[in-house]
């Protein structure tokens, strides 16, 4: 009995950790943009959904390798992010934060409305060639897609950490994030780094779209993954990559445990509810998150 309890808890935690890392991947797109440009993307979930639709559309063509679908998704998302920065967000520079939030909410509405009109409302499948042999760690069983998700997430989180700490461009981007005017004075092309930040967010969303799309199926509900981004980034701190990872892991484990232990009593839905309760508590006591930089406001 005791052993059963423990192994149930263990498998919940393992599954939560792997899902959590996949949340981190999507949250990374949010953090990258916020860190570099101070812009807030409430349409992150819709970005992921758009990437899923592109990948599924390309993969559905006869004889198309899955790699082509992934490359297409990345390319489209990068171009889309560029265009968004140019057309919508640049005119809003210097305006109140409410304006940026509402603009991305509006963008999200457009993106959710488009697929039913163009490719139809039915769920499309997007399968990666990874077999369906589940992966077993002790008592926990992980579907292969989650393992792929974990590997891709770790790869990218590592790559971005290296990029920001060591590469010349990464250092320049940190400078832009820290103080745009000083960065400009040091000869950094700020506009270009804004574009680069959006491009990186596009890449991350594209991969998130492929992975989440092949796990859940591609339809407009895929955008709901974006609702998990907020607890992740608030817990971790809005401008911290490490925070996005830790926040993702916490949210993954919390929702997995809540779903495992509470759902039988309250009739479902705790998965979407528990992370937000945790987030509210965090906002009350430590509003800048675990790793976020505390910003001091001056009049």
């Amino acid at each position: 009995m005791m052993i059963d309890e423990l192994s149930f808890a263990f498998s919940l935690v393992v599954s939560g950790l792997s899902i959590g890392l996949m949340y981190s991947l999507i949250a990374l797109g949010f953090v990258l943009v916020y860190k570099a440009t101070d812009a807030i993307n409430f349409a992150q979930g819709e970005f992921v959904m758009l990437a899923g639709f592109v990948a599924a559309g390309v993969a559905a063509v006869e004889g198309m390798p899955i790699l082509a679908a992934i490359i297409a998704a990345v390319a489209v998302m990068v171009l889309f992010s560029f265009a968004l920065e140019r057309v919508v967000l640049r005119p809003l520079l210097g305006r109140p934060i409410v304006a940026v939030i509402m603009a991305t909410i509006g963008l999200g509405a457009i993106l959710r409305g488009l697929p039913p009109l163009t490719v139809g409302g039915q769920t499309q499948s997007l399968s990666l060639p990874i077999g369906d042999e589940p992966f077993v760690i002790g008592p926990a069983v992980l579907p292969p897609i989650q393992v792929v998700g974990v590997i891709v997430s770790l790869l990218f989180l590592g790559a971005f950490t290296w990029f920001f700490l060591k590469s010349r461009m990464g250092v320049a981007m940190r400078a832009v994030a820290d103080n745009q005017q000083v960065a400009m004075a040091m000869g950094i092309n700020v506009q270009r780094y804004f574009a680069l930040a959006w491009a990186m967010a596009g890449i991350v969303s594209a991969l998130g779209g492929v992975i989440w799309g092949s796990m859940l199926g591609v339809d407009t509900h895929l955008a709901l993954v974006g609702l998990k981004v907020f607890p992740v980034v608030i817990l971790g701190g809005l401008d911290s990559i490490v925070g996005a990872v830790i926040g993702g892991l916490i949210v993954g484990v919390v929702e997995s445990i809540a779903a495992g232990y509470l759902d039988p009593f309250v009739g479902g839905g705790t998965k979407d509810f528990a992370p937000y309760v945790l987030m509210i508590v965090m906002l009350m006591f430590k509003p800048y998150g675990l790793f976020g930089q505390r910003r001091i406001e001056r009049v």
Partner: protein, 355 residues
């Protein structure tokens, strides 16, 4: 009597704050009142009155949200949840205790104000994006709670049927009767807001919006006023929810989901932030839009889509038009329809001798 001034000649604060700056304003208000109280209800068909009823309900909600977002500068993505609090409070009181609307309506508003102030507590420490996410959390948590606690939601499908409101012994059943019921509350909300924003409280709100730290330094208790703003705004939302419940005859959480919060934000952005007239114009615009889109889709949609696809088309088209309009107004005309109206008026003020 019908003249307009050719410039700003105000010499006292009282003149600057007057509700009727010129005699013509009195006549305009009287004309609009006559139009709504006598002309429209006697000329229009029930169906059109039902649309106007929806607009009247939306006006109450939009005014409330504009007090919070437009005047106090605190963002809320959870307005629809406050409406649901009001709606379910009133529905429970009306069904279980058999109370009349003149008790359930303020009770729903007060309950929403209480919950709104609680959700607003984080605004004391955080603002901007953090507050947007906190209110989003409020929306999701309230939605979940109503949906999962049968004591509130009445069990099956989380919906409660409410009896029609009765006034002096008559049941308000037809759209025409409901029209006057709703018109009264919409007018009350408009007058209350107009007076609120030119009072001490309204000016404190505007000071907090423009620079909260500076406002605190000149002696405004920003904690008190931020919470007050959340409470007042949620009171409007709660009343709006109660009115909608009486209009539909049923309280259902699906009418108060996050999409509705975004609709109301769209209303005040399209109409104009920080403006009473803007809230009204935005409420009219956003309420009419889906109806117009449905007419267009029903009229022309069959040329592009098959009958089975057509059902989803108007809701998708609505999302796209909505999103585009929000972005368009934010980028091109941040002050919304209210500004467009002012531009038109200013053009004609000196017409035909503009120079």
């Amino acid at each position: 009597m019908f003249h307009r001034e050719a410039g700003v000649f105000k010499t006292t604060y009282a003149a600057d704050m007057a509700l009727y700056p010129l005699p013509i304003a009195r006549w305009a208000v009287a004309g609009v009142a006559l139009l709504f109280a006598v002309v429209l209800p006697s000329l229009l068909h029930e169906y059109y009155l039902s649309i106007i009823n929806l607009v009247l309900i939306a006006i109450v909600g939009a005014l409330g949200l504009n007090i919070l977002v437009g005047y106090t500068g605190q963002i809320s993505v959870g307005h629809a949840a406050f409406m649901s609090v009001g709606a379910y409070t009133a529905a429970n009181l009306a069904v279980r205790l058999d109370l009349p609307f003149w008790i359930t309506l303020p009770a729903g508003g007060l309950m929403a104000a209480l919950i709104g102030a609680i959700v607003g507590i984080p605004s004391l420490r955080i603002k901007g994006l953090y507050l947007a996410i906190a209110t989003l959390a409020g929306q999701l948590i309230i939605e979940w709670t109503i949906n999962h606690v049968p004591a509130i939601s009445g069990g099956a499908q989380a919906s409660i049927e409410v009896p029609r409101p009765t006034l002096f012994g008559t049941e308000l059943k037809t759209q025409g009767q409901l029209y006057f019921f709703l018109l009264f509350f919409a007018a009350l909300a408009i007058v209350a807001t107009l007076n609120l924003v030119r009072s001490r409280i309204g000016r404190a709100f505007v000071a907090i919006r423009d620079q909260d730290i500076a406002a605190e330094i000149i002696g405004i208790n920003i904690y008190r006023y931020k919470l007050l703003s959340f409470a007042i705004s949620s009171f409007y939302a709660g009343v709006c929810g109660v009115l909608y419940t009486y209009y539909l005859g049923i309280a259902n959480y699906e009418q108060f989901q996050i999409v509705v919060s975004i609709d109301y934000l769209a209303m005040i952005i399209i109409g104009g932030l920080g403006s009473v007239l803007g809230s009204i114009l935005g409420a009219i615009f956003v309420t009419m839009l889906p109806i117009v889109i449905r007419w267009i889709v029903e009229g022309f949609g069959s040329y592009f889509f098959t009958a089975s696809e057509l059902a989803g088309v108007s809701s998708s088209a609505r999302l796209i038009v909505f999103g585009s309009l929000i972005i368009f107004f934010l980028v091109v005309e941040p002050e919304g329809l209210n500004r467009l109206w002012r531009n038109i008026r200013n053009y004609f003020r000196v017409w035909p001798f503009s120079y």
